[in-house]
Assembly symmetry: C2
Homo-oligomer: 186 residues x 2
Amino acid sequence: METTAPAAKRTGGRSALVLGAVKRATEELIEEKGRERLTVPMIAERAGVNPTSIYRRWGDLPTLINEIATYRLDPARPLPETGALRDDLTGWAREIVEHYSTPVNAALLRGGASVAGERESDCLRNRRAEATIFVGRHPEAGITPDQVIDHLVAPIIYRVIFLPWSLDDTTAERLVSDLFDLPSRA
Amino acid sequence: METTAPAAKRTGGRSALVLGAVKRATEELIEEKGRERLTVPMIAERAGVNPTSIYRRWGDLPTLINEIATYRLDPARPLPETGALRDDLTGWAREIVEHYSTPVNAALLRGGASVAGERESDCLRNRRAEATIFVGRHPEAGITPDQVIDHLVAPIIYRVIFLPWSLDDTTAERLVSDLFDLPSRA
DNA sequence: CAGTTAAAGCAACTCTATTTGCATTAGACT
DNA sequence: AGTCTAATGCAAATAGAGTTGCTTTAACTG
C-alpha cells in the first residue's frame, strides 16, 4: 500500500530548474497581468518551458497558483520573539503587511482566494500556525489564536484583497493596538 | 464627444429577461463548479441565451461576476436600528454571516476577490457605507468605521473565503463581543 | 401604432488553451 | 559507468473560448 506519499523520483537537476523557472514566471506574470489574464502557455513561454510540463505537473492553473501562494512566505523563517506578546505580534503583523504590500504577493493572494474553500487550499494556514505559537508562549495574556486571526490577520488580508491602497506602515500597529486596547464601551 | 455615459436605452422586456437569466445561471454555476471552472459559453447555455449577448454586455467573465457579487446583498434593504450600536452591529453581522453562508454567495465573493484591486471592483464597498451609517448614529461610542471594517467585516469575509467551515451562528456575536469587550491587557 | 434602432440571435471564423502519443533527455540507483 | 525510467520536449490533434458581420426581434419614442 502507499499511504506514504508516492514520492517524486527526480527532484534535482533539470526538474528543479523547471520548477524554479515556472515559479518565477508565474510570479512575474501574475503581477503584470493579474490572475484573470494569466494562462499556462503564457507562463510556459516566459519560463522557457513546454506547456505540457506544467499541465502534467500541476494539472491546472489554479493548482499551480495556490501552491505558489501558499509557500511564498517562508514557513521556516524565524519569528519575532521579544518576550512580550504585543511586541511579537506587532513585528509579525508588520512583516505580513510588508509581505503583501508587494504586488506579486497581493496578486497571488487574490489568486489563492479564488480557489479557496473548494479544496483544502487555505493558503494562509501557516499564519494560523504561527498565531498559535505566539499566543502559546504567553497564555497569561488570555488571547486566543482565533482572536489573532480575526483581529490581526483577517483585517490585513481583507485590506490586501479589497482595499490595497489603504495599507500603510501604521496598519500593523493600529490593529495590534485595537486588539489589546479596545476599551469596554457602554 | 461621449464623456457622458452611453446610457442604456432598453431596460425592460427581453433585455430584462436576459439579464435575469444570465444572473441566475451565473449564480447557479459558480456554486456548482466554482469560479475557476466557469465559462461564458457555459452560462449562456444554462441561461438559454446567446454567448454573444453576454460578451457584448459585460465584455468578459470577471466583469460579470464582479457585478453580480457587488449587488447580491440588496443595498436598499432595511438596516437594523435598535437604538443601541452593539445590537445594530450584532444584527447586521448576523445578516452578513448568514448571507455568505450560502455557497452561492461565498463563491461569488471569492470570484470578486480574484478581480479586486485590479479595478475599482470592491464588491464590499456597500458594507463600508453601512458601517459608516451605524457608527454615525452613535458617535458617543467612539467606534470608527475602520474599526467596524477591521474587526467585524474583515474577520467574517476572511473566514468566508478561507475557512468557510468555521462560520456558525455564534460568529457574529463573538466578533461584536470582541469589538466591544476586548479588555485591556498588560 | 408606426418608425427607429438598441439589443439579441445566428453563423462562420479565429485564436488559443488543453490533450495525447511518441521521442528525447537526464536523474537516481546499483 | 550503465540501466531504468521519470520528467521534459515536441508536434499534431482537439476543443472550446472569444470575435465579427450580418440578420432579426422588439423596446422605447413621438
